[in-house]
């Protein structure tokens, strides 16, 4: 960072600098455009369509072809709606909560790499990473930022000054803390397997074999943990409509509600990306077949891995939706028991076992 600042300081801008700045800006635009402009709206639609599919009905199909424009219509509706603010709420925190929901969600994706190091087909002089912020602490950053999502829920629930919201917030925050542990521990296994915390290096280490195979147990832990962290069914107890009306966002409406909605999908995208990167080889083609071995010229076809990465991401997003309409909701005590009594012990055991095996493998 220091270097970067000093470089900006000397106003001696050459082409390379411009290209690099453009590359940087391009990455940001691409990611956030993709997230907020495509994935989130598409997911709203997909969710409803898949719901229809699973429940053997149509789903939205009036606005636009296949109802594709339905999301836009909803968005416009939310934007135009009156910004209601109940009288008993704590005004500052009431507004702060949805903002706090979106910002970490967006920040989290900044550290996600979405392709191998590349020169963009020769545009860049040196190969650079397709990643907004190249932090040497890698996934820890994602985890750290992800953990901040709790505050929005908690604040929303508390600021609404409503017992359902508070209960929802309590549930959500307890659940998120609990499952963060399990998720973190299972990721540690992956880190041990790959030998790095840098996500790009983790992907590179999966060239021969994806982590899902040696780290299957870790994935088994990681999967429910990300469901719980994003408050998705079957762990969406924070907003369980039947008991808590809608949980922490009962009092929200209009675009504030929309922001929560948005944040949820972005979060889903982030954790899906993590899952792909950590366990499913990131942008690599197939478990036994990395791009390098296909014989394709990866310098010119540099976009193929990126596309393949997003395809995998999409599959995961679909998986989220699929699960949502298939598996019923857990009871709260079952949820906590699963987290503390099953997942954490398993992941601890897994960690120890993996370490032991690795140590013995490396022993001469």
């Amino acid at each position: 960072m220091e270097e970067r600042l000093t470089r900006l300081e000397s106003l001696n801008i050459d082409r390379e600098t411009i290209i690099s700045i453009a590359f940087f800006a391009g990455k940001i635009l691409f990611i956030f455009g993709l997230l907020f402009g495509f994935i989130a709206p598409m997911m709203v639609w997909v969710e409803r369509r898949v719901c229809g599919l699973i429940q053997d009905r149509y789903g939205p199909n009036r606005v636009g072809p296949f109802g594709l424009l339905q999301t836009m219509a909803d968005g416009i509706k939310l934007l135009l709606k009156e910004d209601l603010r109940p009288t008993e709420v704590h005004p500052g925190f009431f507004i702060l909560a949805p903002i706090l929901a979106v910002i970490p969600a967006a920040m989290g994706f900044a550290a996600i790499p979405f392709g191998p190091e590349t020169t963009l087909g020769g545009i860049l002089r040196e190969p650079q990473r397709l990643q907004i912020a190249n932090l040497n602490v890698g996934f820890l950053y994602v985890l750290a930022i992800g953990s901040l999502g709790v505050y929005s829920v908690a604040l929303a629930g508390w600021a609404s000054n409503n017992k359902y919201t508070v209960l929802g917030a309590l549930r959500a925050s307890a659940q998120m803390i609990s499952y963060e542990l399990a998720a973190g521990l299972s990721i540690v296994t992956v880190v041990i397997l790959s030998g790095s915390v840098d996500l790009v290096k983790i992907v590179e280490s999966q060239k021969s074999v994806w982590n899902i195979f040696p780290g299957f147990l870790a994935f088994l832990v990681f999967l429910p943990a990300i469901f719980a962290e994003t408050n998705r069914t079957p762990f969406d107890l924070a907003e369980s409509e039947a008991e808590l009306v809608a949980g922490f966002h009962t009092e929200y409406s209009g675009m504030k509600f929309g922001l929560f909605f948005l944040a949820e999908y972005v979060n889903m995208a982030t954790v899906s990306a993590m899952a792909v990167l950590l366990f499913f080889g990131g942008w690599e083609l197939l478990p036994w077949l990395p791009w390098a071995k296909t014989g394709l010229n990866m310098d010119t076809l540099w976009f193929l891995p990126t596309i393949w990465f997003f395809v995998k991401l999409a599959f995961f997003l679909f998986f989220f939706v699929w699960i949502r309409w298939t598996v019923p909701r857990f009871r709260y005590d079952q949820l906590m028991a699963l987290g503390w009594k099953t997942l954490i012990p398993i992941s601890l055991f897994n960690m120890a076992a993996t370490t032991t095996i690795l140590v013995f493998q490396k022993m001469p």
Partner: protein, 181 residues
């Protein structure tokens, strides 16, 4: 004044201001929120100091875990002002005395050892300072005892909290923590 100094002063000012807000906002919720912000700013300061890993841990553990616990408890108790009690200002005197004294010591340190005021040398080019690898290597070799002790302390804390939170359930209908008809 250099850019980095400006950034540092901005961060410092913000840290101090948020600290003040943490200490003296009447509601614990607000305190907690300001503290989270304070931690974020501190994490930023750590990034400035080159300790990236520490910064991330600051966010992950402090902001992401410890403070969540606070917020959680605040939510759980949902206290009104009466239950919080009124704050006192009795200790201002001793506090001022203390601050004055410590300032005096610090200032006199400055006088006696002026090299403290010299700027810190920049991080060397190939230095691994602040990386996870360097840190963990030190942690697991030179400081292994401290590391183990930290583990023991954590274990003790877990046990202690478990003990504190444990309550016998008198209602026979409640099995496995949930109520069954």
């Amino acid at each position: 004044m250099e850019n980095s100094q400006i950034v540092f002063f901005i961060f410092s000012a913000l840290i101090l201001v948020t600290a003040g807000l943490v200490a003296f906002r009447p509601r614990p919720v607000e305190s907690a929120m300001w503290l989270i912000l304070n931690f974020f700013l501190t994490a930023g300061l750590y990034v400035l100091l080159g300790s990236h890993f520490v910064a991330v841990i600051q966010v992950l553990v402090y902001a992401g875990a410890i403070m969540v616990l606070f917020v959680f408890v605040i939510l759980l108790l949902n206290l009104d002002p009466r239950e919080l009690g009124t704050d006192s200002s009795v200790s201002w005197g001793s506090l001022i005395l203390f601050v004055a004294f410590l300032s005096f010591i610090l200032l006199s340190l400055h006088v006696t050892t002026p090299e403290l005021l010299e700027k810190m040398p920049p991080i060397k080019a190939g230095s691994t300072f602040g990386t996870v690898e360097a840190l963990s290597k030190t942690l697991l070799t030179d400081y292994i005892f401290g590391f183990e002790m930290a583990g023991v302390i954590l274990l003790l804390a877990i046990m202690g909290v478990g003990l504190l939170a444990y309550r016998k359930i008198n209602n026979p209908r409640i099995v496995n923590g949930s109520e069954r008809p």
